[in-house]
């Protein structure tokens, strides 16, 4: 079989493209780690402020479970403790370059600089926040130990569950990144995106498992959430470690995550193509 010169040249070019992309990701992540470790106190306060929410839910459901002889719908006190402690990590993994920041990026003109770069801002955002997550995970460990000493979680995962969890928290990160970035595209059309973002966040809050483990939700909510991205970015990662999912369920969960990442990416690409045509800078 003969190869055309163009195709032969294309192979190393493609390899070079991948290599420089990997390099971009690693460098950006490294920068993020270094930058964010400087702000470790700020990062910690932010995390501590966030802990109040799961602790409140945990106390409420523990109270109910104890009043009913140790469990609610089969969920025990130890399960609730484990659920809401792992919750704090997943919640942190859910923090991405949020839609409202797009408004700031456009208003402040930072987008002009980003557009001059040879790669999409999306790549930079994914890499930077991924690097930041490394710092967050390190800072989270002492917090988790502290919470575990106070609330005594029941946690007995299999090796496979730990592995799935380790993958699923990054899946969650990517799902949320894709959908937040896509929503952020609205900022190219309106300066009043905040109302839509708030509405979206509330939907997410109700349908993701952030308030309560999904089994406590009414059946129709559980069915509805199954077909929406939110719970795959929140309930599923927690449940993979804390709950008792079968191997099939674990694999299916990861599959759903992949599916939603791809759907989110597709939405972003379409939205981005239209949005960027509308963009024009002023001032400088």
């Amino acid at each position: 079989m003969t190869t055309t010169p163009a195709a032969a040249a294309g192979v190393p070019q493609e390899a070079g493209r991948v290599r420089s992309m990997v390099d971009l990701y690693l460098t950006t992540m490294r920068t993020a780690v270094q930058e964010q470790f400087q702000y470790r106190t700020a990062n910690y306060f932010y995390m501590l402020g966030m802990v109040a929410e799961p602790v409140i839910y945990l106390v409420v459901w523990t109270t109910i479970a104890e009043e009913q002889g140790g469990s609610v719908q089969g969920l025990t006190v130890g399960y609730f403790a484990a659920y809401y402690i792992v919750w704090t990590l997943v919640r942190n993994m859910n923090i991405v370059f949020g839609a409202p920041f797009w408004e700031w990026r456009i208003r402040e003109g930072d987008l002009n600089r980003d557009l001059l770069r040879p790669v999409l801002p999306l790549h930079y955002d994914i890499a930077y926040f991924a690097g930041w997550k490394v710092v967050v995970i390190v800072l989270w460990i002492p917090l988790a130990v502290g919470l575990s000493l106070v609330f005594e979680p029941t946690l007995d995962p299999r090796l496979l569950e730990i592995a799935v969890f380790a993958v699923a928290i990054w899946g969650a990160y990517l799902i949320r990144t894709m959908f937040q970035e896509s929503l952020g595209m609205l900022c190219f059309w309106t300066t009043r995106g905040a109302a839509i973002f708030d509405l979206y966040m509330t939907l997410e809050l109700l349908l993701s498992g952030r308030l309560v483990p999904m089994p406590l939700m009414p059946d129709w909510v559980q069915t509805l959430s199954w077909f929406l991205p939110f719970q795959w970015a929140f309930f599923f990662p927690i449940e993979s470690l804390v709950g008792d999912l079968s191997n099939a369920e674990l694999v299916r969960g990861l599959g759903m995550q992949l599916l939603w990442i791809l759907i989110g990416l597709a939405i972003f690409r379409v939205a981005w193509r239209h949005a960027i045509k509308r963009y024009s800078a002023v001032g400088g």
Partner: protein
């Protein structure tokens, strides 16, 4: 003078009418979440630590109402104080011929946050209408006293935190931390384990600001508790004033 500042602050804010819609929207969404949580709780139980659903709605109403007061008046002034200390702009307040503490406490009014006060009152009214027992005149009086002194306590707490800015430049996180901890007020303080209960009673006086008024309305309040709230408020107010003056001595302005 407080009234004058209030008027100017309100007029200033009225220019930003879209903010009203934003406040309305955020308030509605927060309310929805609060009610959904209560609905979920009571779909699995009839009583939470002795509180029925309408009674817990009263707690939620008071929490939203007090939160509205904090966001309208207390928090904006205190964050401005933190900001001014950092930027060295506090001089402008200090050189005025008025009591500095009073002045820094009334400069800002976020009038649109009053939406929360109204929605809080709505939830409270709804909750009360579904409680079978009547609220007596004495209960209502106790409620008014508890709410007033609860607000004073929250104000004192915030002033202590803001005064901390004389030593620690970066007090910003205090706001986020407070917002998080304030959520504990959505449930009666009795459900929390001891260490947390004491923290949100005496360290951050949320229990006095929300649970105690709610106890008054649901005829649970013991007079000793109300007495403690009043006494604690008076002592803390005096201590706060001393701490504020102590902190002020450290302030040396910047650039200017």
């Amino acid at each position: 003078m407080g009234l004058l500042f209030f008027k100017v602050g309100v007029l200033n804010e009225l220019q930003y009418r879209v903010n009203f819609l934003v406040s309305l929207m955020q308030s509605a969404l927060a309310l929805t979440t609060g009610i959904v949580v209560i609905a979920l709780v009571y779909s699995h139980t009839n009583e939470l630590n002795g509180w029925s659903q309408p009674e817990l709605l009263c707690v939620l109403g008071i929490q939203i109402l007090m939160g509205g007061l904090i966001k309208t008046y207390i928090q904006p002034n205190m964050t401005r104080l933190i900001e001014d200390v950092r930027d060295g702009k506090l001089d402008f307040a200090l050189t005025k011929p008025e009591d500095a503490q009073l002045l820094v406490s009334v400069r800002e009014v976020r009038i649109w946050q009053v939406v929360d006060v109204v929605s809080g009152l709505g939830v409270l009214g709804f909750g009360l209408s579904r409680i079978t027992a009547d609220v007596g005149a004495l209960d209502a009086l106790a409620f008014a006293i508890a709410l007033t002194f609860g607000a004073v306590l929250i104000y004192c707490f915030w002033l202590v935190v803001a005064t901390g800015a004389f030593w620690v430049v970066n007090m910003w996180h205090a706001v986020e931390l407070f917002d998080g901890i304030y959520m504990t007020g959505r449930f009666p303080v009795g459900i929390y384990p001891g260490w947390l209960r004491y923290s949100v009673t005496f360290l951050v006086p949320i229990a006095f600001a929300v649970t105690v008024p709610a106890e008054a309305l649901t005829s649970r309040l013991e007079w000793q508790t109300l007495g403690l709230a009043v006494a604690f408020a008076i002592v803390l107010f005096a201590a706060t004033r001393w701490f504020w003056r102590f902190g002020l001595r450290r302030y040396s302005g910047a650039s200017a």
